[in-house]
């Protein structure tokens, strides 16, 4: 048998309540092993409190050719970005 441990994508939620974030990948033989490896590889500095692992092969990604249709429509919705709004300095931090 000449086969590699499958590749897993690792997502970690940190201590501050933000959503799980993709932190990297690793190889593991199954899901339990992947969780343990993720703990050892990606939380060496106490970076996370919750780990998700997903087989890389099971991820469906948008095609780069669709980039235009997916993202361009948002280009004219600049109001979604906070810097769109001019807030007078007197108002303070916002």
């Amino acid at each position: 048998m000449k086969q590699e441990w499958p590749l897993w994508e690792v997502f970690i939620r940190g201590q501050h309540g933000l959503s799980h974030r993709h932190v990297g990948s690793l190889h593991a033989s199954d899901a339990e092993h992947a969780i343990q490896n993720a703990r050892d590889v990606y939380t060496r500095r106490k970076e996370g409190v919750s780990i998700w692992v997903v087989p890389a092969a099971d991820i469906t990604a948008s095609s780069p050719d669709d980039k235009g249709s997916l993202y361009d429509p948002a280009d004219d919705k600049v109001y979604r970005h906070p810097t769109f709004f001019d807030i007078p300095d007197d108002v303070g931090a916002m």
Binding site: E32, D40, V41
Partner: protein, 240 residues
């Protein structure tokens, strides 16, 4: 309160941490390399706590480092199990599994110790030991069950290390707790893991003794210490 009991705890983690650190850069996969180093780091950290407290209680001006680097083999009080060489990954992980199972139960009992400093070290260590046992259990199961070759290797590792299990439950007044009381839980837990791993527990209770009393270590410890202690021994005036 027994300084000897603290030294036993610290020598176990020191010697096993040293053994595991020998793997760094040589493990079967990068993920396993990193995991072994994490275990070694946890154990070295625990060593600093146990031997630090032992030195403090002893009150003879020694430190965790002088205890680690300036005692000879006969003054070490670790279990014979942890000084056994790494041999292959199977022996290393079987040794780890047997130790972790005992260690977790011993530490859990120690969290209730009357001595607050002992209980505090145990509380910190128990979290680490819980994960160690989870990982080593899963590894023993996977490798015991995996292929014909891995099964053969894991059964051989178990047979080879089993005579060093009994010493974990031998006890005397130097121990921080009565270690003999931990035996039933050890058998219960390891039997469930062995069943999943399709491994057979050896049908003998024969036990090599002499590590935790220092009466008779194996030949391996002297070589390990010769390596580990070379710098402080060769350059006693130096600070590092």
């Amino acid at each position: 309160m027994s300084v000897a009991g603290l030294i036993r705890m610290g020598d176990n983690t020191l010697v096993l941490g040293q053994r595991l650190s020998e793997w760094c850069g040589h493990a079967p996969a990068l993920e396993e390399d990193i995991a072994l180093a994490n275990m070694a780091l946890d154990l070295i950290g625990q060593t600093q706590l146990w031997l630090g407290l032992a030195a403090e209680r002893e009150g003879a001006g020694r430190t965790a480092d002088t205890l680690a680097y300036h005692r000879d083999a006969w003054d070490f009080r670790n279990l014979l199990l942890v000084e056994q060489p790494n041999r292959d990954f199977g022996v290393t992980m079987m040794r780890q599994f047997l130790f972790d199972t005992w260690h977790l139960d011993a530490l859990t009992a120690l969290t209730e110790h009357d001595d607050a400093e002992i209980a505090a070290i145990a509380q910190k260590s128990v979290k680490e030991a819980t994960y160690h046992r989870e990982r080593s259990s899963d590894t023993v199961i996977a490798l015991g069950d995996g292929t014909e070759e891995s099964h053969t290797r894991m059964q051989a590792a178990l047979d080879r290390l089993w005579p060093y299990v009994g010493e974990m439950f031998s006890t005397d007044t130097d121990d921080l707790i009565d270690m003999s009381g931990l035996r039933p839980a050890f058998y219960a837990y390891t039997d469930t893991v062995f069943a999943e791993a399709t491994l057979t527990r050896p049908n003998t209770d024969f036990a090599h003794l002499g590590g935790k009393t220092g009466a008779r270590h194996t030949e391996h410890l002297g070589h390990m210490l010769a390596t580990m202690q070379v710098l402080p021994r060769n350059y006693p005036d130096a600070t590092w």
